[in-house]
């Protein structure tokens, strides 16, 4: 019994480590790049996008996991898309109802979560062949990894682009804001530098 519990804990630990580092979508697998570049001009929209992705990942993983034994190969992708689209629409409606301002800031990027490959990847790679609990933990870990990456990029861009973080002044007023950090060029540069830094750390550890 104790061995089984240890085994289960070990499996969950493995799933969490995979989502938060080993297969972290944005920095290790380079997946979900579109929202990564588009909504990271400030931390608030990046965090909101991350929370929406966590919700969709957990719900779609749960539903796919429940259906996994009855899944047939030719309707598999169709069912994944149906499930993901449903939860993305619910997330979008929720934002429009309770965070209308943020919904406007994020614009089409919330509905575009439907085509975020991180979600269909987890449905295919984890939820379609794992139990419900493991699939939920996987959704939480992958979503958290995605959210952390978005928040790191958004923090750098918001601080350098405006001198603020969460709309609070963090750099001296003498610092001239780098307007380019709020533009697509700032997104690409920040993403590139952070990826380079992570690769540097990886090589140093190897």
């Amino acid at each position: 019994m104790a061995a089984t519990l240890d085994g289960q804990t070990g499996e969950y630990r493995e799933v969490v480590a995979t989502g938060l580092w080993r297969e972290m979508p944005v920095f290790r697998m380079l997946l979900g790049t579109c929202p990564t570049l588009a909504v990271t001009a400030a931390v608030k929209p990046a965090l909101t996008m991350g929370l929406c992705v966590i919700f969709v990942l957990v719900c779609s993983n749960l539903m796919v996991s429940l259906m996994r034994k009855a899944l047939r190969p030719h309707v598999r992708i169709l069912l994944f898309t149906l499930t993901i689209a449903t939860f993305v629409t619910i997330a979008d409606l929720f934002l429009r109802a309770f965070q209308p301002r943020m919904s406007e800031v994020l614009g089409p990027y919330v509905p575009l979560i439907i085509v975020n490959c991180v979600i269909i990847w987890r449905a295919e790679a984890r939820a379609s062949n794992s139990g419900v609990l493991v699939s939920i933990v996987d959704g939480l870990a992958m979503g958290a990894g995605f959210t952390i990456a978005l928040c790191i990029l958004a923090s750098i861009r918001e601080i350098l682009g405006t001198g603020h973080l969460f709309e609070i002044q963090v750099l001296p007023k003498a610092f001239p804001p780098w307007a380019a950090m709020g533009l697509p060029v700032g997104a690409f540069l920040t993403y590139g530098f952070v990826l380079g830094f992570i690769n540097f750390l990886k090589r140093k550890r190897a």
């Binding site: 449903t86 409606l93 429009r96 614009g107």
Partner: protein, 209 residues
């Protein structure tokens, strides 16, 4: 025949069941959140209207009027009477245009006699950033402020001056579809609202606002 039906059922029961469950989830979410979303939209409409008619102190909703939408269906539409100290200073309503990515919802304000456009603002749109979404910019919107209520014409950049206030609207370079959508929405909705308010005796000769 029976074998075919059995085969169809075996292969597709999960897809049909999942569709029903997802449809039910969406219906519940829409029923629960829809009214709040509409309230948010109404609040935003009023906020935008304040910017278009700064003299107005209150925006009183009238009984909805019957308006033919872009798809040809007749539907009730809200009209707000902008007032300052019991004096009508304008009218506010919603107009919809067919944009590049999706429909564009506009808040349109006209003066008290429904002769001139007081301005418009964008309630919702999914137009391309830095292209179609320039319909939100003051440069384009200013061309409508003071323009006569009547047939507006979209002209190419360079053929007219944007600062001239007349029925010619200079298109946004690189965003012709979005520019056209705004002009078409004005041309489509303004005459309808004007006719409805005249019918109610709120504007025109013998009006009693």
């Amino acid at each position: 025949m029976l074998d075919s039906l059995k085969h169809f059922g075996r292969e597709s029961w999960l897809l049909i069941s999942a569709s029903l469950v997802c449809g039910l989830l969406l219906a519940v979410a829409n029923a629960a959140l829809g009214p709040r979303i509409e309230l948010n939209k109404a609040a935003k409409l009023t906020n935008l209207a304040v910017g278009l008619l700064p003299d107005a102190k209150t925006f009183a909703p009238l009984d909805p009027v019957e308006i033919r939408a872009l798809d040809g269906r007749t539907e009730p539409a809200a009209v707000f009477k902008a007032m300052t100290d019991n004096k009508v200073v304008g009218w506010v309503f919603k107009a919809v245009g067919a944009g590049f990515a999706d429909k564009i919802e506009l808040v349109v304000a006209v003066d008290a006699s429904f002769q001139k456009i007081a301005g418009y603002d964008v309630l919702s749109s999914s137009e391309t950033v830095n292209f179609g979404d320039q319909i939100k910019d003051a440069y384009y919107r200013a061309q409508f402020t003071g323009a006569p209520v009547g047939r507006l014409t979209l002209v190419s950049p360079g053929t007219a001056k944007p600062e001239d206030i007349d029925s010619s609207i200079v298109a946004i370079s690189g965003a012709t579809i979005s520019s056209t959508a705004v002009v078409q929405a004005m041309n489509y909705y303004l005459p309808q609202f004007k006719e409805q308010l005249e019918k109610k005796g709120l504007i025109g000769n013998g009006s009693n606002p």
